[in-house]
Symmetry: C2
Subunit: 291 residues, 2 copies
């Protein structure tokens, strides 16, 4: 999970239950594109809406279909007792790493977040990726906190949902060796990789792994011209992400392409409707190079 391209697929639902055959197809498509890892049950994978049993089943199926590509899974939960169960499940299933955002109901303070990761990492025999996503957690990691946490055993990576090039440069100078910097937020991923990010935790790659592979390769080899060219072509898609969030957009695209059955999101989350759906359909037609 520490380098390269990590694909974060949707978990397709059908009436609240995981659509298992569709899930296997999504994983096989990703594995066939030669990504470096697969991040199941990320935010895009709707982990927060699924039961422990559903999460274990999804992780196991992914491991079966991943053709040996490393699989990471989320262990995030508001309840720490649930986190500890999820760690057991994930490690026994055979994941290569885990991902955790400091989700809570009450917004956490710095001491609480530190103690949470300190507690959790004691249980881990695989690396943990710290997930910094203020939009879903209400908590913003300072650089100082990320650096302090990265010195805990078992921390393998940091996934940043928002960043500047300067922040990536600062963190690269300060994090312990062996802790990679990952960028998420597809629309800024190219910039993040060119600025020194090690891994793209990619929503796009969950559905379009081949194009994402090409974009990641260009950015990770420092080919600025090709990176900008491949990224610019996707600007119309990033504009939808901005308005609706990446999850609703990629889920709508998956529905429109027949890759998942509609509605695929956990209620009450909804894919795009009305005019925005029609506009996205038009945009998608103009992005026929995506495969």
């Amino acid at each position: 999970m520490k380098k390269g391209l990590s694909a974060f697929p949707l978990t397709p639902l059908r009436a609240g239950e995981v659509d298992e055959n569709t899930w296997l197809s999504l994983i096989e498509n990703i594995a066939g594109a030669g990504v470096d890892s697969i991040g199941v049950l990320g935010s895009t994978g709707s982990y927060a809406y699924l039961t422990r049993e559903q999460r274990l089943r999804v992780t196991r199926l992914a491991l079966e279909a991943a053709s040996g590509i490393p699989v990471i899974t989320s262990i995030g939960s508001v309840r720490v007792e649930e986190i500890l169960h999820l760690i057991d499940d994930a490690q026994q299933a055979g994941v290569s790493g885990v991902l955790m955002a400091p989700v809570s109901y009450q917004r956490l303070n710095v001491d609480e977040v530190f103690d949470l990761y300190d507690r959790v990492t004691r249980e881990l025999s695989v690396p943990l990726c710290i997930y910094d996503n203020p939009a879903t957690t209400g908590f913003e990691f300072s650089d100082a906190l990320l650096i302090a946490l990265s010195n805990l055993p078992a921390i393998g990576s940091i996934k940043l949902a928002s960043f500047t090039s300067e922040r990536i440069a600062r963190l690269k100078n300060s994090l312990p060796a062996g802790v990679s910097i990952g960028v998420s937020g597809d629309g800024q991923a190219a910039s993040g990789l060119l600025a020194g990010g090690d891994v793209w935790y990619s929503v796009l790659a969950g559905l379009f792994p081949h194009y994402s592979r090409a974009l990641a390769n260009a950015a990770l080899t420092g080919d600025h011209v090709k990176t900008r060219q491949l990224d610019s072509a996707l600007q119309p898609l990033w504009a939808f992400y901005q308005r609706h969030g990446s999850l609703r957009v990629i889920a709508t695209v998956a529905e429109m392409m027949g890759k998942v059955s509609a509605p695929c999101l956990p209620f009450p989350l909804q894919t795009l409707k009305g005019e925005e759906r029609l506009l996205l359909q038009e945009t998608l037609s103009s992005l026929s190079f995506l495969d």
Copy 2:
């Protein structure tokens, strides 16, 4: 739940489990002060950190100890399937109403929030209180949405975590008859009631129901002078609320008074430490009129 003083107690935990005897003591203390309703498992009651089984047990115990005072309980959950189970549990236990904030992992949009309440209210045989608390949900209700939702059957009240006097006046003119306006955020409750709020959903009353009863009575009868006097005396406490959130403060006070065993909050949430705890102890000494 629609009028007067509604007390929202802590749910005291001990190593992750509900401390049942302490819980019964808290409820008996509240019931003895003659509050108008008891709101168990609100934000202050840590509902989001407890299992379905724990929530049912807490609700049942409260009903046993409430001496006939109406009990309302929270049915909030990120998973809609869980919400439907919680409704069943609460209604079978015999609550007089339920409370629900639009908690989610992904921030919801207006259509999603409307559909959520629309779905949930179909299952209800008791009134629902809409809980508007952007700090925990990331969602801000517009007045227009509150008015639209209030026309759904089963909506009985609205609990506003932040408001202005003007907002309360606007809503009072626009909500259907029978839907009350509740104010929460203890530090602004006096202003909210004087501006026309019908009910104080009160954290303070969970621990200090007698003083809260006096303050609510003064405000609900329009006695501005007495209300301001009783409220002003608590300014030092509201200052701690501002810095740490009401939950951490009231939990610390409860620990310091020996009303609950420490630590009483769900991990990783923490009561105050170090100098802030000492300062709160001093403040509490100066508030000896609280009982």
